[in-house]
């Protein structure tokens, strides 16, 4: 299983084993990662599964969708170049080792 590492705002790293085909949001929820709220459960409504993808990995996670792009504008924490909704990052074996930083707040 690909390993995805979530980095909390205080620097704490939590690696999780993610199921290929699941979303990164789902991997976080399944493993109880605080900091991913995912109020809408992946239905592209809420922008509460916001993550920052490291610059070096932005090319690996695919492009930001139109709906996702608009939702990110309303995210509670600052939008940055690497901002993504983790429900839209589909886990593949190639994403093994992906690092996702968590924002200060989701709501």
């Amino acid at each position: 299983m690909p390993t995805i590492t979530f980095i909390h705002p205080d620097g704490r790293a939590e690696p999780v084993e993610a199921e290929s085909g699941d979303s990164a949001m789902r991997a976080a929820i399944v493993h109880g990662i605080d900091g991913i709220v995912a109020e809408c459960g992946g239905s592209l409504v809420c922008a509460t599964c916001h993550v920052y993808v490291e610059d070096t990995s932005i090319g690996r996670v695919g492009p930001v969708g139109d709906d996702e792009d608009e939702l990110l504008d309303g995210a509670a924490a600052e939008r940055q170049a690497g901002s993504r909704l983790s429900c839209q990052i589909k886990i593949t074996p190639e994403l093994d080792g992906l690092v996702l930083r968590l924002p200060e707040r989701q709501v």
């Binding site: 929820i29 709220v37 109020e39 239905s43 608009e70 939702l71 504008d73 309303g74």
Partner: protein, 416 residues
């Protein structure tokens, strides 16, 4: 799948692990639209879950799903389980709808995709940031007013009064005639049910409420800057037509008020019944948003919706034919022990993500952010200003074919 009990995310209908049983759908002689059921739905919901992944309800000749996995799967497969034949018992392929169908709720892709995009933009997270301070200030003022009173009915004076003080203004409605809003929404949600007395009576009395709503949905009756005007502005950008805009405003008036009344009512009722959880909320008012969310899971203000099968399909290994109505028990799914630890406990720190109180998938409640905003700011204001909530009189249930909530909840607040 990881072994956490979470349902699959694939969109396919979940199959039972073994056997591939293709017949033998259990029949249950229960009526989930009867007053006795509304008074205490939980034993029947458990029976529905335990009977099998899909059941048949002879009373209304429909199939039902009450386990989380199947409810989630049906919600997430809109091509197989369509909405355009109505999300109530009535099959629009066979019966004339009681009102012109909703362009978003009672529609399938691709028509739904376009209208959904409009409402998603009008009710987006970015818009919530703009209205947040106004909604929070109104909640603070409402709690101050209620503390002055001390004792009052939490349904009319709080659960109804607070959304009525913010939502109609946010839509941009005129002052006069707003008394039609709650009866209209009650009518809409009763009409999803079977042709029982609740539905028939509501429709018989519907004419003045329908006339009011139809009139208020017109562009000239909606104040600039409100949600309603924002919908009509999408006519100018070519996203929708001038005849579609009023019907999309109607969706806000159908589904945007009563649901939040029931949601806030559910949260107050939970916090009044479970003083330990109230104490936790008082210690940390930042839990307000999740306390509201957990109340939506726990009480499931929207209890049920239907879908119609577009083809022969297997649900949990059982064959269901084309053109069948499937009743989704959202409330039962939200308390399915296969999915939730200690499901009958109201726990304001529970990880609630994945509950189906707002539905799931492409039809998931488009106004859920407004509901959460109202719930959060109201519970946060209460947590900061109130020491104790005590139920001081008989609790009365309000009966509706789709909505679960109270008619009367007499309470006394003690100031902090």
């Amino acid at each position: 799948m990881v072994a956490t009990g979470l349902a699959g995310n694939s969109g396919a209908v979940a199959r039972e692990a073994t056997g591939g049983l293709l017949s033998g759908i259990p029949g249950l002689d229960v009526d989930p639209f009867a007053i006795e059921y509304f008074d205490d739905p939980f034993p029947v919901q458990e029976a529905l879950r335990e009977a099998g992944p899909v059941v048949h309800l002879g009373k209304w000749n429909v199939y039902g799903v009450a386990r989380y996995a199947q409810v989630y799967a049906v919600l997430n497969d809109p091509a197989t389980f369509c909405s355009s034949r109505g999300v109530g018992l009535s099959d629009f392929a066979k019966e004339k709808p009681w009102r012109p169908p909703s362009l978003i709720l009672e529609a399938d892709a691709p028509a739904h995709t376009r209208t959904r995009a409009v409402l998603s933009k009008v009710l987006s997270p970015a818009v919530m940031k703009q209205i947040r301070d106004r909604f929070a200030a109104a909640a603070e003022a409402k709690v101050d007013e209620l503390l002055e009173k001390g004792s009052f009915d939490a349904v009319t004076d709080l659960a109804e009064a607070y959304p009525l003080s913010v939502f109609p203004d946010a839509v941009g409605l005129k002052q006069e005639g707003r008394e039609h809003l709650i009866p209209y929404a009650g009518l809409v949600f009763n009409a999803f049910g079977p042709p029982n007395e609740l539905r028939q009576t509501a429709i018989e009395r519907s004419a003045p409420h329908q006339a009011y709503v139809q009139e208020q949905c017109q562009r000239e009756n909606l104040a600039p800057g409100g949600f309603g005007a924002c919908i009509h502005a999408r006519v100018d950008t070519g996203d929708i037509t001038a005849t579609e805009a009023p019907l999309l405003v109607r969706s806000l008036l159908s589904a945007g008020l009563d649901t939040t009344v029931y949601g806030i009512g559910a949260a107050i009722y939970c916090l009044a019944r479970f003083p330990d959880e109230w104490a936790r909320l008082r210690r940390d008012p930042a839990l307000a948003r999740n306390a509201f969310e957990e109340a939506v899971r726990f009480e499931s203000p929207v209890q049920t919706f239907f879908r119609t099968t577009t083809r022969d399909v297997e649900i949990g290994g059982c064959k269901v034919g084309e053109g069948e109505k499937i009743l989704m028990f959202l409330g039962a799914a939200n308390r399915d022990p296969r999915r939730w630890t200690d499901p009958d406990r109201y726990d304001i720190t529970r990880k609630t993500s994945g509950h189906v109180g707002f539905g799931a998938g492409i039809h998931m409640c488009v106004g859920q952010l407004v509901a959460r905003l109202e719930g959060e700011v109201m519970l946060a204001a209460l947590a900061r200003k109130v020491a104790a909530i005590e139920i001081t009189g008989p609790v009365k249930r309000r009966y509706n074919n789709t909505l679960r909530g109270l008619d009367s909840l007499p309470i006394t607040l003690t100031p902090a």
